[in-house]
Amino acid sequence: MKLIKAIIRPDQLGDVLKALFQAEVHGLTVTRVRGHGGETEPVETYRGTTVKMELTDKVMLDIGVSEPFVEPTVEAILAAARTGVVGDGKIFVLPVEKVYRIRTGEEDTAAVTPVA
């Protein structure tokens, strides 16, 4: 099992969700986050105050998947979240020690397999 954390542009979220659902990945958590990557910071001006916005809004997806789903999930996100401009985000694939489904107490692969 792996935990896939993807940090993407908020305006790509719709496309990414669609791609994930098409890849039959249905279990995920979405968080609004702010962060800093390689992108140039936009400069904003409010009256006499000029600021550089060092943090940009992103969306983070947390997806726990069984081994056969790792590749399809990553590929779906790569394809749907890419615009080709700096700031498209990152995907991290992390090992997972243990997974439980709270409702049934199922463990590991059974816990991340969608109910049929």
Binding site: D11, H36, G37, E39, P42, T50, V51
Partner: protein, 459 residues
């Protein structure tokens, strides 16, 4: 203008109402009450443009909230200045049947002398507020994708080439005035005109990149309600002030402006309820605006009971055009065509049905035997619709040869607030680093045109 004032004067005399006012008007002396009411009305109509900014601003996504509101606010500057410089003259000075002259350009000869029963300058300012909001209305069709610079050029050209001539046709002694077209406060001049321009502008610009693929939802529905409420408030000046006097006709227009949208609101919520078993807030706000639009051409010509009927009827075509539009590829984003185009057409045509000579001595509509009047109404809205649509197409196509009308796809994704304005509507200041004078990048100047600095932040 003179024709319109004479017309109103005659109308007042014929009605035999307020003979004191009528005599004053006939003697072309300034009337204190009329002037007071028009001063207030002008301020009321001016408030409608910020109100529209809230109405439109609430309907878009948060990353475009400022850009959308700025499209209305900037009209206060661009259209306001051009109106004083040239627009007023083109619309209201002596000319031919289609266009006025330049004799009053730069407000030449427009002073405190009487124009009807109010100072000429005040009449100019009152009409100026109409020119401003008409330009701003079109923005609803192009939000979230049109480049701000291109929008500025567009409303400047449109105000001079479309609004001013059409105002001349109907109110400035042009050919529609000669035919006797009834347009009390701008059903054709303002709403059909803006509605046709919006339809064409949406077609020329094309849809937003996410249109039809993602749900593009209003980011602040309370803003939409606030805007609709303030629009209604301002509309009392729009319609009530169009009597150009503080008299019975003004009272009639005022009352009709209260009643017709109320009826539209009721019918709209019923339609909403029957269709979805819910009464929606955005629906209520839209219904109010449609009712206001529809009563505009009729306000001073029909009795209050017919205003209720007109308002109720007007909900239906706009409601269904709005539903139909959402299922097409036509991205008239904020439904300017459905609300203002269709609402204005309905109102202008029903003016030709419900107008009653007995109400204010003008003309009878279809219901009272005035078949010809109805024909004139059909002709007037058709002429305005076709002219506005054609000229809007020519202006935008012409501009597109010189500059791009749309923001780039990437800028559209980032949101036009940051790209075009270098501001965010709802920034929390988290991660904002204060730049001291010597640190401000030289590109900041370039960022004003939306190209240089802004990259990948998003919203």
């Amino acid at each position: 203008m003179i024709r319109r004032l004479l017309f109103l004067t005659v109308l007042l005399l014929a009605a035999g109402a307020q003979s004191a006012f009528a005599q004053e008007a006939a003697e072309a002396a300034i009337s204190a009450p009329d002037t007071a009411w028009l001063l207030v009305s002008t301020a009321l109509v001016l408030l409608m443009t910020p109100a529209l900014a809230f109405f439109y601003g609430g309907l878009v996504r948060s990353k475009n909230a400022l850009n959308t509101m700025m499209m209305s606010f900037i009209a206060l500057g661009v259209a306001g200045v051009l109106w004083a410089l040239v627009g007023y003259s083109v619309a209201f000075s002596e000319g031919n049947a289609f266009i006025g002259g330049l004799s009053m350009a730069f407000l030449s000869g427009v002073g405190v002398e009487p124009s009807g029963s109010i100072p000429h300058l005040l009449f100019m300012a009152f009409q100026g507020t109409f020119a401003i909001i008409t330009a701003a209305l079109i923005s609803g069709a192009v939000v979230e994708r049109m480049r701000f610079g291109a929008y500025l050029v567009f409303i400047a050209l449109w105000g001079l080439l479309v609004y001013a001539p059409v105002a001349h046709w109907v109110w400035g002694g042009g050919w529609l005035a000669d035919l006797g077209a009834l347009d009390f406060a701008g059903g054709a001049v303002v709403h059909v005109n803006a509605g046709a321009a919006a339809l064409v502008a949406a077609l020329v610009l094309g849809a937003r990149k996410d249109f039809g693929r993602q749900a593009l939802l209003p980011h602040n529905v309370p803003f939409v309600l606030l805007g609709a409420g303030l629009l209604w408030f301002g509309w009392f000046g729009f319609n009530g002030g169009s009597a150009l006097a503080a008299d019975g006709v003004a009272a009639l227009a005022f009352v009709n402006t209260m009643l017709a949208p109320a009826a539209t609101l009721v019918v709209w919520t019923l339609l909403d309820y029957v269709r979805t078993q819910k009464i929606t807030a955005v629906g209520v706000a839209t219904g109010i605006v449609v009712g206001l639009v529809a009563i505009t051409p009729a306000a001073g010509f029909i009795s209050p009971v017919f205003a209720l009927i007109l308002g109720g009827i007007a909900a239906v075509p706009s409601y269904y055009v709005l539903l139909w539009r959402a299922r097409t590829r036509l991205d008239d984003s904020l439904d300017v065509f459905a609300a203002h185009g269709v609402g204005g057409l309905t109102g202008a045509l029903l003016t030709g049905v419900f107008a009653q000579e007995a109400v204010n001595g003008t003309a009878d509509g279809l219901l009272f035997g005035g078949v010809a009047q109805f024909g004139v109404q059909v002709l007037s809205v058709a002429a305005v619709f076709v002219y506005s649509g054609l000229l809007t197409f020519v202006i935008l196509k012409g501009m597109s040869f010189v500059t791009s009308l749309r923001a780039s796809t990437r800028d559209e994704g980032l949101g036009l607030d940051i790209v075009n304005h270098g501001e965010e509507a709802y920034t929390e200041g988290e991660g904002a680093i204060l730049l001291l004078d010597d640190e401000v990048p030289p590109v900041l100047a370039a960022s004003a045109n939306g190209k240089a600095v802004s990259t990948p932040s998003l919203h």
